[in-house]
């Protein structure tokens, strides 16, 4: 059965190991060298935004900073570029967290799109000030595909929380 935003009440709390496993997996996906392929979503930003909205007390700006730094190292980008973008992303995701969850998935992704665009604008601004060349408008395409991936991704990340506390064969979900 398709879980909906209305079934929030019966969710189990997210396990800490699952949160960090999903963040590490996102880091791995971001490390896949796709070169200049346009429109590859920023998995790290998406998963960070997801947990900052779902669990604002457990995942926040500190996680954004650490994982941003790891991406800076892995990508050979400027140190602090992704970290700065993700810290701000996590802050605004935390601010929005009480509001976003009232909406169905499609409208949630409309809330997430400006967050992802903000992160990318910060990175472009930082590097342009640092003297790099503008990468072209296709660069922002990854925010659009990221927002499209929001609904399926949040379904996947919520699956472990949909499990019943005690096994019951007659339970509908």
């Amino acid at each position: 059965m398709q879980p909906t935003h209305r079934s929030n009440r019966i969710l189990q709390p997210a396990r800490t190991w699952f949160i960090y496993l999903s963040l590490l997996l996102a880091l791995g996906f971001t490390y896949i060298p796709t070169g200049r392929l346009p429109g590859v979503p920023d998995w790290m930003a998406l998963v960070l935004a997801f947990w900052c909205i779902r669990e604002p007390l457990r995942v926040g700006m500190g996680a954004g900073f650490v994982f941003g730094l790891l991406i800076d190292v892995g990508h050979g980008a400027a140190m602090g570029q992704h970290a700065l973008a993700y810290v701000l992303l996590c802050y605004f995701a935390g601010v929005l967290s009480r509001r976003v969850l009232w909406f169905p998935p499609l409208q949630q992704s409309l809330h997430v799109l400006p967050l992802l665009l903000l992160a990318q604008f910060i990175m472009v601004a930082v590097r342009l000030i640092g003297g790099a060349e503008f990468p072209g408008w296709w660069y922002f395409g990854s925010s659009l595909t990221g927002a499209l991936c929001w609904a399926p991704l949040s379904f996947l990340l919520l699956l472990p929380q949909y499990q019943p506390v005690d096994r019951d064969d007659n339970r509908p979900i």
């Binding site: 490390y31 060298p33 954004g64 140190m79 810290v87 590097r127 790099a132 060349e133």
Partner: protein
């Protein structure tokens, strides 16, 4: 009574959240800005980067496995006709190269002999590593590629990277088994060059748009469209004489200077097999300004001791 019961207890964990979110935000943003300035402006953080890359390295190796698999699969399914055509091409170019190589060996011996007779320093010995370009670097703000050879294979930062036609870039960062090449077309890449015909020296800067610009060429310089630009080797890092670019346009830029644009000779964006080239021994160190002798022409003539010669 109620007050008494609250005094001894700490607030429940839900209410203990440390500094306010805005305070944490400002602290982390400040930290990020400090790091950005330290890295982009002063390059202080290479040590931190190397240390952290030890942590991220295993994950990166796992992450590039699917890309490697796809790349190997496309090689495996290359058609027979393609391979035959390529093979014929290679045979022909090898034959041409062999002729030149025979003459080259002869010339090299002759050169060595003449240098010995003239008492000149021996020509520079070359350190070279053959490598393959794996993929574009993930950072979309710079023109960089990743090579499949790294510190284990003797690659160090600063070496030139060439393909069969000329220079494509310079090694700017070395990982254990990979290295990062900044292409000559990158906005921040600079190469000291020389016009092959007139031996005019200058500095070539990547324009960022695929063309290269030779900076600070005075208006009376001898440079024409079609001239080949080769590396001058004056930096003590690159070998002299590596072909870099061909001049495509020379226009006056104001009163005093020329605007010289060149296009790279190498297949910068398309090369796959490359050679990493450098000096086998480091260049002799630059003389220090403090060790300069104060010998001017008039002090030698008048026989005064150095340092006391004064203009009239």
């Amino acid at each position: 009574m109620l007050k008494m019961s609250l005094v001894g207890h700490q607030s429940p964990p839900f209410f203990r959240r440390g500094p306010t979110p805005v305070a944490r935000l400002l602290a982390l943003v400040a930290l990020c800005l400090v790091m950005l300035i330290a890295d982009l402006r002063f390059r202080y953080l290479e040590v931190v980067r190397q240390a952290l890359s030890v942590v991220t390295y295993p994950l990166q190796m796992v992450a590039k496995a699917p890309v490697d698999f796809v790349r190997n699969a496309t090689v495996y399914f290359a058609t027979l006709v393609e391979v035959q055509v390529e093979n014929a091409d290679l045979r022909r170019s090898q034959l041409e190269a062999a002729q030149r190589l025979l003459r080259f060996e002869h010339l090299e011996r002759q050169n060595e002999e003449l240098r010995r007779l003239l008492g000149m320093a021996r020509s520079v010995e070359i350190h070279s590593v053959a490598a393959e370009i794996l993929y574009d670097a993930p950072d979309p703000f710079a023109r960089k590629v990743i090579l499949d050879k790294g510190a284990h294979h003797g690659v160090v930062t600063g070496l030139a990277v060439v393909d069969a036609y000329g220079m494509i870039g310079q090694i700017t960062r070395v990982y254990p088994v990979q290295s990062e090449v900044t292409l000559v077309t990158d906005k921040e890449q600079t190469i000291p060059v020389q016009v092959e015909r007139s031996e005019l020296r200058g500095v070539l800067v990547g324009g960022g748009k695929g063309l290269l610009e030779m900076r600070f060429v005075t208006a009376d310089s001898d440079i024409l469209p079609g001239d080949r630009l080769v590396s001058s080797g004056l930096d003590g890092i690159f070998l002299a004489g590596l072909p870099v670019a061909r001049v495509v346009s020379v226009e006056p830029d104001g009163e005093a200077f020329l605007r010289v644009l060149g296009e790279p000779l190498a297949r910068v964006e398309r090369a796959v097999q490359v050679l990493v080239l450098g000096r086998a021994t480091p260049a002799p160190p630059r003389p220090l300004p403090s060790s300069a002798l104060d010998l001017s022409a008039d002090s030698v003539e008048s026989g005064d001791s150095a340092g006391e010669a004064k203009p009239e």
